[in-house]
Symmetry: C2
Subunit: 346 residues, 2 copies
């Protein structure tokens, strides 16, 4: 990334332009430009003179003029929902961090658009756009796609408009988690869902149901509690659940945050985990990998998702192809201390 000096009005001092360099070196601006762009056509002697003039004048190319004249952009846009439940989640933080990290390697700049409701993202700044999930901004996605800006969606399987995406097999994750509990012998399994506006929460719920159905287990309706990924909601849900007559012996939560809150609840109520009740989360959030009790959870490869997504975007940008690539990454069960057989009395 070349650095140049700002062309602000506030900036009084006059900075040398390519013309000054040309004059000083006794060549034309075209030759200077060639030197700047590493053209092999410049005679070694002239090249040296130009380089000397550049150093002498402290010349820095004006990046805006470069871009205007056809140079490439070096920035990627990341559009992420600003809604509290999502923005503060481990998922969102990890996505931002990974994108930032990877772009650092690619030597590109990151243009972050935190999305509330207005569709005012200016795609002129960027060569390509990464959408972190699509929630209440289908219009925005459609517009960017329609503008012909290369883009890729992360964490959502999008059918319309046609667009590349990299997502995670959340249904499989939900299925595996539930299946594991069933195999341990649990028959009374509750589920605290994520925000059902999100596709991943819906899919995790679907996986939960599928596993139960396959095992021919029917559950009372209140065993499915709607959460929103947040701990507050998880606490409400688990509290309600354990005030009913019929209590589950296992709880599958759609996020580790919620699972952890549930574990805390049990700790407070002196309900033993996993002896009396098993808990499974989702995320493999590193925050819960230590301490006296590690969560049984579902690992979802967020970093890989970001890297794959950016790779697709890169190819799209470089080849100028409009090829649509979609990937669904598998999840993996991680067994921790929060699950075991159901109490024998059950």
């Amino acid at each position: 990334m070349l650095n140049s000096l700002p062309n602000n009005k506030s900036f009084k001092k006059k900075y040398p332009t390519i013309k000054d360099v040309a004059e000083s070196a006794g060549v034309s601006i075209a030759t200077v430009s060639r030197v700047l762009n590493n053209s092999p056509l410049v005679k070694e002697k002239n090249k040296l003179r130009v380089l000397q003039a550049i150093r002498k004048l402290g010349y820095k190319p004006n990046i805006f003029a470069q871009k205007l004249a056809g140079g490439k952009l070096e920035a990627i846009g990341l559009i992420i929902p600003g809604y509290e439940g999502i923005f503060y989640s481990y998922y969102a933080q990890e996505i931002m961090r990974e994108v930032g990290l990877y772009l650092e390697i690619l030597k590109k700049d990151l243009f972050l658009h935190i999305f509330w409701d207005k569709d005012n993202f200016n795609s002129n700044y960027v060569e390509g756009v990464v959408f972190a999930d699509i929630i209440r901004n289908e219009t925005q996605l459609r517009r960017v796609v329609q503008e012909g800006v290369p883009c890729v969606v992360i964490n959502k399987k999008v059918k319309e408009p046609p667009v590349s995406f990299v997502a995670i097999d959340n249904e499989q994750g939900g299925f595996e988690a539930t299946k594991y509990l069933i195999e341990l012998g649990h028959k009374k399994i509750a589920h605290i869902t994520g925000d059902l506006n999100t596709q991943c929460a819906q899919e995790r719920l679907a996986g939960f149901r599928k596993a139960l159905k396959k095992a021919n287990i029917t559950l009372p309706g209140h065993f499915i509690q709607e959460g929103n990924f947040s701990r507050v909601q998880a606490r409400k849900a688990i509290d309600f659940l354990f005030q009913q007559k019929l209590r589950p012996t296992a709880v599958f939560c759609a996020s580790d945050d919620m699972a952890y809150e549930v574990v805390l609840y049990f700790l407070e109520k002196k309900i033993k985990v996993p002896e009396e009740v098993s808990v499974v989360g989702f995320d493999n959030n590193p925050q819960y990998l230590y301490g006296p009790l590690t969560l049984t959870t579902i690992e979802q490869p967020l970093g890989e998702m970001v890297k794959k997504g950016l790779k697709i975007l890169e190819e799209n940008i470089n080849s100028k192809s409009k090829l649509i690539i979609t990937k669904v990454l598998p999840t993996r069960l991680i067994v921790g201390d929060s699950t075991s057989y159901p109490p024998s009395s059950s």
Copy 2:
């Protein structure tokens, strides 16, 4: 003849330009430019036609042309450390969100630069820069200041180079927290610090010491444990602390995250909070405002800090003044359920 096809341009995505808008609206490009820049000189009727044409064509101004022609940018840069302990913290998340929210109001775009170690932020894209703290990137700050780009530092009192900042009186916060514990009657007070590379952690520690000194309390060295704002470290610290013979009756932690972890630790060890030991945090993190036990903590006005910082930046940009403004915001003690008198046996 295929060989002579213009290479790049023919494949380049073609955006509508100001010229297309002008034609479509039946006015000159100057009039379109005036509309774009909110000039009051345009007749209402023409303004509407232009706006309509813009919408119809999906026109977005080319920022590079704008900038080259001496126009205004509508974006600011946010530079934030990518180091895990800091990036994932409530502090960093809140800063990002608040900046995003406020810029949405100002109708500006956000360039996010997640900082690891290399100094490659390109200030050309932005009108101004917000630094979220300065940790291992003094060089970067110095460069941006020297380039004459308006900037403001958040959450750190910077002496060199001369630059505007808005920070928080962390020493006062640490002092208040400790003083409160002392007033409750505690004499054996431990402190788990934040990452001592950060100024705020240093200041909170200084405040802690000051309060003790003022009350003529001397403590064993191991009562100050170095943490790094993370829960992992907090657990290690509190575990070590409570394996010693001499135990504190109160613990002041440099963040709510750490304080919460400490509370959990006590919960697990069946040590009653606040009956047997009091805990004070720092942040007033909304995550810990519910549940069976609310934390006593120090509120730091992060949102206000961001707003004030951006306001200073705005003024700097608009007035083109180089005035340096510094602000230190006060903290406030929030009393929750995690503190009370020390046990009488003490």
